[in-house]
Symmetry: C3
Subunit: 258 residues, 3 copies
C-alpha cells in the first residue's frame, strides 16, 4: 500500500491510537498524531488496558520513563494487542542504560511487536551488540545497525525501522530507505518518540512495512519543510507540527527509496 494511500486512509479514518509513552513525550506525541490526522489516547492504567486496547486501531509502547506499574501495564497491553490482532509498535528508548530497562525491553520484545522502531544504538543493543549510545541520542550510524535490524526482523517476525539521517526499514526480506528531514530534529526532544506514536496510526491503516515507511516519509517531508522556516529548535518544533498537518499524500512519494 503506497504511502500516499496510507496518509489518505489515516485522514479519512482518524484511527484511535493507544499510546503508552514517556512523560517527556506525551504532549508532543499527542500533538504529532493529531497534526498528522489521527486520534491519540494516552492511557496507562493496567485496569484499563483490557477494555481499551482492543477498541484501538493500534498500540504504541515507548519505555522512555519507566516504573514497575508502567512496565506491567506495557506488558499487559502488548499481550492484549497480540491476542486481539491489534498492531503494536515498540520503541525501546535507551534500553541499554540499566539492567532494569534492558529487562523491560526484552520482555516486550518477546511479545513480538509488529514494528520495532529505534535509533541505531538501540537496535544494535537489542540484537545483543555493543554500540556507542550513552543516553537517548544515538552514538552509532544507521548503516552500522542494518545487519542487526535484518536479523531482528527475521528472528521476531517484526518490521524493524532504524531512524537517523537516512532511515532504514526491513521486514527481514525486503528493505528500503527514507531520506530527507533536517539536522535540527535531534535538538527537539521526543520527536523520535512522537514518530513511534504516529507509526501506530499508520499501522492501523495498512501493512506494517508500508506503514513504517509512510510514517518515516511523513516525518522527513515535514522536517525538511519546517527547516526552511526554523531559526532554531523552538521554531522548528512549531513549524514541524504545521508541516505534518499541511503535508499532502502526494508529497510522500519522493523520499522513499526501495
Amino acid at each position: 500500500m503506497s504511502a500516499q494511500d496510507l496518509l489518505k486512509s489515516l485522514r479519512d479514518n482518524t484511527p484511535l491510537v493507544h499510546c503508552i509513552t514517556n512523560y517527556v513525550a506525551m504532549n508532543i506525541a499527542a500533538n504529532v498524531v493529531l497534526a498528522a490526522g489521527a486520534s491519540p489516547a494516552m492511557v496507562h492504567a493496567p485496569e484499563e488496558t483490557a477494555d481499551f486496547t482492543p477498541i484501538c486501531g493500534a498500540l504504541t509502547i515507548n519505555i522512555g520513563t519507566l516504573s514497575t506499574p508502567w512496565v506491567e501495564s506495557m506488558v499487559a497491553s502488548a499481550r492484549t494487542a497480540r491476542e486481539k490482532n491489534v498492531p503494536w509498535v515498540l520503541d525501546p528508548v535507551a534500553h541499554f542504560i540499566s539492567d532494569y530497562r534492558k529487562d523491560a525491553a526484552q520482555k516486550l520484545m518477546a511479545l513480538r511487536p509488529t514494528i520495532l522502531r529505534g535509533n541505531a544504538s538501540e537496535i544494535l543493543a537489542m540484537a545483543g551488540e555493543t554500540g556507542a549510545g550513552k543516553g537517548a541520542d544515538s552514538g552509532d550510524s544507521v548503516g552500522a545497525a542494518q545487519a542487526a535490524a535484518t536479523s531482528l526482523a527475521q528472528e521476531y517476525g517484526s518490521v524493524v525501522a532504524i531512524t537517523g539521517p537516512v532511515d532504514f526499514v526491513t521486514d527481514g526480506a525486503q528493505s528500503a530507505n527514507v531520506a530527507g528531514g533536517s539536522d535540527i530534529m535531534p535538538k527537539v526532544t521526543a520527536l523520535g518518540c512522537s514518530q513511534t506514536a504516529l507509526m501506530g496510526a499508520y499501522a492501523a491503516c495498512g501493512p506494517a512495512f508500508d506503514a513504517a515507511l509512510a510514517t518515516l516519509a511523513h516525518f522527513k517531508v515535514a522536517g525538511a519543510k519546517a527547516a526552511q522556516h526554523a531559526r532554531g529548535p523552538g521554531s522548528f518544533q512549531m513549524h514541524f507540527l504545521d508541516a505534518l498537518y499541511a503535508t499532502t499524500p502526494d508529497e510522500l512519494t519522493g523520499v522513499i527509496r526501495a
Copy 2:
C-alpha cells in the same frame, strides 16, 4: 458578575489553582493559566492535599491519565474542597472508555463538583446515555447533550459546561451559549483540559455559572485571534497563548449569548 469583571479580578488577584490533571495536559494547562493571568499549581501527592487544597482559590480535577494513587488523591482533594468551600471543577475525560475510568468519574461526580466541564460525548455518558465518543474527541454534537447537561445540573447542583463549536452552559435553571473560536482547536492536544484548569481560576473569582461563561468566552476570543495568524496546529498553540495573555476584559462581551 460580568465576564469583564471576572477577568479583571483574575488578573488583579492571580488566584492559586490546585490542578490535578493528566500528563499530556500538565505543561500546556499551566501555560494557559499563567498566560490568562492566574497561578497554577500541579500537585497530586495524597500527602499534600489536606495542607494545600484549602489555601487555593480553586481545585480542578481532570481524569485523562489515571492510576490508583491518583484516583485516591483526586477523591481526597475533592472532599477537602467541598469541606472547605473551595470551588472545584471536574473534567471527566473519556470516562466511558473503560469500567475503571467510569468508576473514577462516578466517585468524583458524587462529590458534586461546582462545575462539570466536558465535551458532548462525555456529558451524555455522565447522564447515563450512549454517545458516539471513542477517545478524547467528541463524537456527538453539543445540541444533542443539552438536555443531559440540564438534568445533571439539577441532580448534582453543579454548573455544567459542554464545549464544542458553540459551547453551552447551564446551572439547571438558566443557560447560555458561547460562540467563536476556531476549527483548529481540536487539533491541539489538551486545550480542553487546559480550559478546565483556567475555569478553576475564574471560579476562584466569582459565581460558578458566570465563571464558566467567562472562561469559555476567553477561550473563544483568544482562539479566534490565534486562528487569524496560525498556519497549522503548531503555530496555533503559540498564538493562542499569546492571545490569552493579550485579551482585554472588554473583548469578552461579544461572544456570550443568554
Copy 3:
C-alpha cells in the same frame, strides 16, 4: 572558569544530565538542555539510578510534583551522586506548601547538593525563615533572601543561586549577580525548573560557582533576545529555545557582575 569557556566546553562535550524533574517541566526542560547544547535524560525509576547516575555528568532534582516512590528515587540518586562525585543540583519547588514537601526538601538538602537553586521565597524557607510565597511563584525579592542564601551556602557547603529579576549566586565566601532577561519569563511555566536541568549540564563542565553563573547568564542573554521578538508567553517560549541555541559563548560576558 569563565562563562564563555564553560559554554564552549558544554557544546564540545554534550554532557549527559540525569534529570528527575516534575511532570510539568519534563518536556521544556529537555528542550532547554538540548537547545543549549547538552544531552538530557529523564530517568526516575529507583531500579535504574545505581546504574545510571554514575555514568552521567550531573544529576538534577526538582521536587515540583512529588509522590512516595519519586522521593525515594530522588534520595537514592542524590546519595549515589555524592558517593560517585557526580555534581548535583537541587530545586526545592514550593517546598513550604505542605509538611510532606518540606520533609522531602529537608532530606535532599541534608545530602548537600552541589548547587541549590530556587526563587527568593524558596531560599528563605529553606533557611527556616518565613516568606510571602504561596505557590511556585516567588512572593519575595531576591535581595531579601541574600543573607539566607549565604548562610545556607556556609552551612551545607553548597553553591546557592537565587533567581529573580537580578539573580544572586554565593558559595558562602564570594558572590555575584546576573542581570538581564525579561519580565515575561515568569509567565512561561517551568522555565526555572528547566534552568535547574541546564545548571546540571554546566556543573558537569566546571566548578559549581562558575557553572551556576554561566547558566544564569545563558538564560538572561537568551531571555533578553527572545523578548525582542515575543508577542506574549507563547511566542516567548519559542524564541527563547531558539535563542538558547543561538547564543554564543562571547555573549555571556556582559551580564555577570562580581
